[in-house]
Structures are given as structure tokens and as C-alpha cells.
């Protein structure tokens, strides 16, 4: 079985999550226990049984009986919603944590990128951090020496290589960290959602670089919520839910069933804890969704019907002239459009504090079939501060039902293109080569009209 890069069998991982409640009937019991507990913990510790700072008895299975095989050179995406077990699986494959049961056999030099810039120290210079981070990621010193110039050139921070990283902007820091990671040359590469950061142009370069990695016959395992990135990068996808594999197959098929199963619930995203929601002290995003005219969340929208992009947000500080806008990308990562709020009622007007819902209506017969990703964002007009931007916060599917009254008409084959507008068509017969009497007559009529 020499062409197998990763073989996982019956992998399970159990976590301790919380304290089991014990009932105390008497104060004396609880006091005695309070005294005993530290000793019990210390004995446990010395015996080598790990427990957290508390008595952790309640458990959860983050992964349950996962088995799969990945061939050498395969590009596999791992998808699933939060808490599905993706990160746990990555942690096991990267040997950061051990499985509770089962085993994995990995053939080949493996590198994992669960984060960019692991071990970066802000007091060290860019140059020093490249060496440190490279060593942490498993590069040999000679290898870093050799690639150093290339790494720095890729990161575009040449001028600041000898400046302590603490004086870098967060973007620069990220670019440098990425540059190091992008120059890894393992046989197997495990990447967590690290590409979800950084500016779009740089993101694209990283994805290209990773595609390069794939083309050199390396095995890549890629975990992401970014469906366009997954579809572009991978050929196969594994869908996880509640610690189990739901589907394993070609990327298009798995991404599709993820989106349609409702597991994805990609068409709506809500931040329940407003303190952790995107935004700042002035304004915070609460909810984004794609909707139909009836007010239903539009997981899949009919190509002929308008789709509303809706963002709900809370303004805490009155008096700002706000500019909500949406970025829309297709599954190839191409930006379809950016649309800025045009409601005349609020244009140039400072807004009072309160909760708002802004909806942008995309007319029917405009978008192309396929998956579209929506990123809501908010700026202040005057100061041009950006309060929040959530890249690819939600996604919805545009579906053409082939009933003949959409822009494709009676054509049933594949149609490419970023948009599929319903245009006004005119066709005239201007020169009839085999002019018959009937048609000549007809033409006469047309001309008269």
C-alpha cells in the first residue's frame, strides 16, 4: 500500500468538559471534601492521570470512529460546521494531541499549519523570526538560509527585515508568517483555516502557492469554512458532523450536500453574544442572511427571483453617518460585485442609536448559477473607518430550474460566466437569401409597420 499517505482507523477522541455536580448534604461533608480534594488531585497527578484544575468527569466525544485513507498527492478538504470535530482531527494528525482510541499511519514528511506565525516573538526582528518560525515548522537551518531571500521577497517586507516585529502592522506580520509557511516543502501538508486572514490579494497568492504545492505531488489536507477556497483547492472532500464522517467524495458533491443538508446553514449567520460580534464600540453586527421576498432564509434561490442580502446591526453611538455594504464572491473566488447602501432616507444622515436591518435586493435573472458568498461590511463615511468586515459570512446557492423562462432559455448545457442577466434580445432577419413570396410579403408588412 505504498501510495497511501494517511491511513486512519477508528479514530476517537474524548474530552473532559465539565464538573460533575456532587450533592452535599452537610456543610461538614463539603468542608471535608474541600480539604481532601487537593490531596486527591495531587495523588492523581502523581499517578499520571491528567485532569484539569477541577474534577472533570463529564466527557464528550469530539471524534467517533473515524476511518479514512488519503492517497499520495491527493488534495482533500475537510468541511463541517463548528464543533464537528475538524480541529480535533487536525490536532491528532499533527500529533499535538493523542487519540483516545484508534490509530493513524502517516507515510512521509509531514508539516502542519494550524496557525501562521507560531512562536513569533515580537521583540525579535523579522529576520530572526523567520529563522525561529522556520525551525519551529521543521525547516533545517540550511534550508532557511537557502530560501531566506525568497521568503522575504514573498512577504514584501524587505525594508523591515531588521526591525523588531512589534513595530510591524498586523498585516505585515501576517505576510511574513505566511511567507515562511508557504516555503515549507513537506510531502504532506495539513492546513487549518489560516487562509481566512490577510488581504485578498495576498490570500490569492497564498492559495496559488498552495496549489503549486499540490502540483508537486504533495498531499494536502485543508480545513476551511471558505467553500470557494475548498472547491478551488481540493478534489476530494470529507464532511464531518458531530465527530463522524457523513460524506466522503468528490469536492463538488460533498460541498453541495453540505450546503443543502442544512448542516451548513450557510445562508444565515448570527452572533448571539453581542460582545463577541464583529464590530467595535460604535456598531456591531448581529445577523446576516440571504432571504427571499417572503422573508424565508434563502438557502437556495431561484435564479429568476430577487434575493435579499440582509444585515442586522446595533448602533451604540449615535451621530455617525454609516455606510453598510456587501461584497459578493462566486465559488471561484471572483468578486461578482460590491454594493453600497443606497437608501435615500439615510444617505448622508447621522443615525440615532438602535437596531437596524439593511437589505440589498439583487434582482432576479442577474446572478449566475452556483454558490455565492456574501461578506457584510460597515464603514463610517467621513472618517472612512471600517467598523467590521466579515469575509464570506454567508453563502447561498442560485439554482436554475430549467423551465425555459430564465436567461438560459431552452439551452440545457453548461453556461459559464459570473453573471447571467436577462437581456433584451432582438433578432431581425435582414437578408433572406432564398426569398420566397411569403417571406417577401412578410417583410413588406414589417417595413410598413
Amino acid at each position: 500500500m505504498s501510495d497511501i499517505a494517511i491511513h486512519a482507523e477508528n479514530l476517537s477522541k474524548m474530552y473532559h468538559i465539565g464538573k460533575k455536580q456532587e450533592k452535599y448534604y452537610m456543610l461538614r461533608d463539603s468542608l471535608v471534601d474541600a480539604f481532601k480534594a487537593p490531596f486527591r488531585r495531587v495523588t492523581k497527578l502523581l499517578r499520571g492521570q491528567a485532569s484539569g484544575a477541577a474534577e472533570l468527569d463529564e466527557t464528550i466525544w469530539a471524534l467517533k470512529d473515524i476511518s479514512f485513507e488519503i492517497k499520495r498527492g491527493e488534495l482533500v478538504g475537510i468541511i463541517g460546521r463548528n464543533g464537528a470535530g475538524k480541529s480535533t482531527l487536525l490536532k491528532i494528525l499533527s500529533r499535538i494531541t493523542e487519540p483516545t482510541t484508534g490509530f493513524v499511519r502517516i507515510r512521509g514528511r509531514i508539516s502542519s499549519l494550524l496557525e501562521v506565525g507560531t512562536g513569533f516573538h515580537h521583540e525579535l526582528t523579522g529576520r530572526e523570526n523567520v529563522y525561529l518560525n522556520g525551525a519551529i515548522l521543521g525547516m533545517a537551518r540550511a534550508e532557511i538560509d537557502r530560501k531566506f531571500d525568497e521568503i522575504v521577497a514573498f512577504s514584501e517586507v524587505e525594508k523591515f527585515v531588521d526591525t523588531p516585529v512589534k513595530h510591524y502592522s498586523s498585516g505585515m506580520k501576517l505576510r511574513l508568517a505566511f511567507a515562511v509557511a508557504a516555503h515549507l516543502e513537506p510531502e504532506i501538508l495539513i492546513v487549518d483555516e489560516v487562509l481566512a486572514v490577510g488581504d485578498a490579494r495576498f490570500q490569492r497568492r497564498c492559495i496559488n502557492k498552495m496549489q503549486d504545492v499540490g502540483q508537486h505531488g504533495r498531499t494536502v489536507l485543508f480545513v476551511s469554512h471558505n467553500m470557494p477556497a475548498v472547491t478551488r483547492l481540493c478534489e476530494r472532500a470529507i464532511l464531518l458532523n458531530e465527530g463522524q464522517i457523513i460524506e466522503d467524495g468528490s469536492v463538488g458533491q460533498v460541498v453541495n450536500s453540505y450546503l443543502n443538508s442544512g448542516l451548513g446553514t450557510m445562508a444565515v449567520r448570527e452572533w448571539r453574544d453581542i460582545k463577541k460580534a464583529p464590530g467595535d464600540d460604535i456598531i456591531r453586527l448581529i445577523r446576516v442572511r440571504a432571504r427571499t421576498r417572503d422573508g424565508e432564509t434563502a438557502e437556495a434561490a431561484d435564479i429568476r427571483q430577487p434575493v435579499g442580502l440582509e444585515m442586522e446591526y446595533e448602533v451604540f453611538e449615535a451621530g455617525h453617518v454609516l455606510l453598510p455594504y456587501f461584497n459578493v464572491l462566486n465559488e471561484d473566488g471572483v468578486k461578482v460585485f460590491t454594493a453600497v447602501e443606497q437608501d435615500p432616507e439615510w444617505r448622508g444622515r447621522p443615525r440615532p442609536a438602535g437596531r437596524y436591518i439593511t437589505t440589498a435586493w439583487i434582482p432576479g435573472n442577474l446572478l449566475s448559477e452556483g454558490l455565492l458568498f456574501v461578506g457584510p461590511a460597515m464603514r463610517t463615511v467621513k472618517a472612512m473607518t471600517r467598523h467590521f468586515i466579515v469575509h464570506e459570512a454567508i453563502a447561498f446557492q442560485v439554482i436554475d430550474t430549467l423551465e425555459g423562462d430564465s436567461a438560459r432559455g431552452d439551452f440545457t448545457g453548461d453556461l459559464l460566466g459570473v453573471v447571467r442577466p436577462m437581456l433584451n434580445w432582438e433578432t431581425q432577419l435582414v437578408n433572406d437569401q432564398f426569398m420566397s413570396e411569403d417571406s417577401a410579403e412578410a417583410r413588406q408588412v414589417a417595413l410598413v409597420e
Binding site: 499520571g48 484544575a53 499520495r72 494531541t97 493523542e98 483516545t100 502517516i106 507560531t118 533545517a140 478551488r232
Partner: protein, 294 residues
Amino acid sequence: MISKKSLGNEIPALPAVEVDNVPEILIQPSKGWVSLNLAELWQYRELLYFLTWRDVKVRYKQTILGVAWAIIQPFLTMVVFSLFFGKLAKVPSDGIPYPIFSYAALVPWSFFANGLNQASNSLVTNANMIKKIYFPRLAIPLATVGSGVIDFVLAFFILLLMMLYYGIIPTINIIWLPFFLLLTVCTSLGTSLWLSVMNVQFRDVRYTVPFITQFWMFMTPIAYPSSLIENQLLRMVYALNPMVGVIDGFRWALLGTESNPGLNIVVSTIMAFVLLISGTFYFRRMEKTFADVV
């Protein structure tokens, strides 16, 4: 898109021989005591080097006195000791000027205590690395203790100057010095390994370390000579503290204190190695839980 999809066909099948050279990793749950796997630590020696180098570089960043701190700490302690213990309390010093008598002990002691202090917290300080990347975890406390060697060398240089000033010529026994330094490393690392693992689980450890070093200092002949203990049997019990052997050894090798530490050094050496080996095994055993708990 197209190139991606056709990828599978482009990869040439590798010859079987080459395939067999590919390293294979088996990931599975480990039970109980695990092997030390020092070979792997050796494989990661460059990382160990970079981590040590980082700790050295970062230690005195954004301080005014910088690396001078490595000298100031033991030197000022020596001044205070000389004043109170040497001058006022008239503590005997084996016939050697008290300042150099105490400084010769404070140099290895600072190395030990600073190493212990920083290394016992090192796993928590580097929690992020532990949670994000695989490498032999032993590298972290090892690098932290190792980075103290630079401080030691600087402080030791002052010791040589002081010997010059007091006109003390080291005996041939100075060749044993590296051994005593190694003994210090073993003691510091061994203790740190135990404490750093416990610190992952219970942050109480961090608060007890200053007490531990303080008590330990009084149990070690730094301000006083170990010759104060006259009973030979008692001295062997005393030498169960490995730092006793270290300090006696330093004084013996450098200053030529007449008492040959002999048997006591053996006791201390054994203790230092017991600490180190048990600490390493305990560390390896608990290692797998770090990422989940820290």
C-alpha cells in the same frame, strides 16, 4: 481548475525502493510510562538551538542595563552577604576572603535558581506553541535552562576577575568544573521538569517556586561553609541536596578549600541524576495531556 482535476494522472509512480525510505509515523494512544525517545530530541536539535537562542535574545530586551543583569544579581547579593554574614555575623569561610567565598557559590546558585524559576513556568509561557505544533516538548524546559548558560559565563568571568584581585590561583582541580556545571544543569532541569508539568495542571506551582528556591538556598552552603556540619554521617544526609555537592565542588575546584568533598559529591551526583531521570520520565508520561490542559 482544470490542472487541478488532472493532477492525479500527472504524478509519476515512485519506484518502490524510494517509497520504502519514506518515514512512517504511527499515531496511537500511549499508555503509562513511555520511552524517553532522545533520538527524536536529537533530530530536533536545531529547534532546541533556536529556542535557546530566542530565550537568550529576548531575556534582556527592553531593559536599560541589559545583559549586565546577569552580573548585577549575584554580585549585589555577594555584597549584602559579605556585609551581614561576613563582617557582622562573622560567619567562617574556610579561610578564604568572604566575598569570593560567597560569590563562588552564588554564580552556580543563580544559574540554578533562575533556571528553575523560568523553566518551571516555561510550558505555560509557551502554551500557544504546544497547542499549535508538534515537536518534542522536552525542548522547551531544556532551552529555558540552557539559555541561562550565557548568564553563567558572564557571572563566571567576574569570578575570575575577583580571583585575580584576591590573588587566588586555581588548583588543577579546575578541570572538574565542567562536571559541576553539568551537575547544576541536571539539578535545575530535573526539578524544573517536575514542577513545569505540575504547573500545567495547577498554577499554584508558580507561586510556590519562589518559596522553594528561598528554602533551598538556606539548605545550601552559600552564605556559610558546609564544614560547619562536622558529623560525617550528617554531611552525607546534607549532601542529598544536590546543590550541596555543586557548591562544595565549585569551591573545591576553584578556591582550593582543603576539605575534599569526595563522598558527598557522589551522593549529590546520584541525587541529581535521580531527579533528572525521574523528571524526564514523568514529563514524557504527562506530555500527551499538555495540549488539552495547558
